[in-house]
Symmetry: C2
Subunit: 211 residues, 2 copies
DNA sequence: AGAAAAGAAAACCGATCTGTCTGCTTTACA
DNA sequence: TGTAAAGCAGACAGATCGGTTTTCTTTTCT
């Protein structure tokens, strides 16, 4: 009963997902199970009973650690985002060379993410798609996540010496979001390469202003 | 009770949404109400009872026209997609000039879409985000929708004389998806301009092979 | 005008939802 | 070893879910 249900992909071995972490406490097990179920089956579509069954935990235990389902969703998004960013920026940090190589490397790392059988799109994009209307917790979590990304992108663009760093980061963010959605819909990781070519094309013209 | 609830944006005046259509039959009212609620509050999060209340219809009437909630979702996606494409391609058809102007015009039309107060992102992206795991009706509807878009893009790129038409269409699709998601998350229509600049940048290098 | 279809209102069904509460067992720590 | 916390199992509550059925009214078309 602790096996991964057939409707869920196996936890990734790459380490971008919370599901690949070894749970220690009951709280961990609940968080990991909720993460896997929420991200694969949807937040609203996944019930609390399913989460505790997958986690092998008691309902009272869940509600001792998380005040409500909303709070659990919030915790899942935060933990999932942190895990993903640690993996993503960790991979990028291994790339030595100029900032341009690191910026293009973004799309190589994205390729590996898309190519993982457990890839289910970006949890934040999926969450905002569900809870769009109200300015919910999901939206704020997504904003924070994107803020982290933009900060990193801007640092690289600054190092590269492009003129409009803010607009450059926005451009790359559009490419990243577009690649994620296209890869998710088409189940085709090669959209990372398509986006990479667009990025190279953009950087070539944007770099003209560097010193 | 037929008023738009506070949680929903007013129906668009531009005509890209099904909500802007004047409902004639009870079936129409149900379809329009379901479209507005599903797209604004989420598919799973919106109950049948809410739909019939918003539509001012009886539950039996709904189930006479639609076999199930899934069938209703399917009908909403199909109708919403058809309405959107009629609006989108209609706007683009008004652009006279070379294919390049029409391709860049895509992002001007997208701007108007994003700028509408009733903008809730792309229904297909949102639906796939909810029903990702199973190869559901939503996924097939999204594929069909993207197929329409790609066909149009390829026709323009062919007219423009670019070398790799298929890859060019994929590139523009990434830009469109990315702009949609970024605009939805940031509630900022100007991501359409960012994507437009990327498209111009891409077309300039891709056009080198035209005759 | 009269037949027939469409629709409204509301009761009703079984299942499932989030969340609470009560026992009992296991773990952890002093 | 004894005490306290943590956790499991499951019943339970009230609401809501998707969906069916019945009765009555309105519309529509010949």
């Amino acid at each position: 009963m602790l096996d991964t249900p057939a409707t869920c992909h196996p936890p990734s071995a790459l380490g971008w997902s919370l599901s690949s972490r070894e749970p220690r406490s009951a709280r961990d097990r609940i968080l990991v199970a909720a993460s896997r179920l929420f991200c694969n089956q949807g937040f609203a579509a996944t019930g609390i009973d399913t989460v505790i069954e997958e986690a092998g935990a008691a309902k009272a235990t869940l509600y001792k650690h998380f005040a409500s389902k909303q709070a659990l969703i919030e915790a899942v998004l935060e933990a999932e985002g942190e895990t993903w960013r640690a993996w993503f920026f960790g991979r990028l940090a291994q790339i030595d060379g100029p900032a341009e190589a690191r910026l293009l490397g973004v799309f190589d790392v994205l390729y590996d993410w898309f190519d993982d059988p457990g890839f289910y799109g970006c949890p934040f994009i999926n969450a905002v798609a569900e809870f769009d209307t109200d300015d919910s917790v999901a939206r704020r979590a997504a904003e924070l996540h994107k803020e982290h990304l933009l900060t990193w992108l801007k640092a690289q663009l600054m190092e590269l010496g492009v003129r409009d760093v803010k607009e450059g980061a926005r451009s790359l963010a559009v490419l990243i979001d577009g690649a994620i959605v296209a890869a998710q819909h088409g189940r085709d990781p090669s959209f990372a390469r398509t986006a990479r070519n667009l990025a190279r094309c953009f950087l070539e013209t944007a770099e003209t202003g560097r010193g």
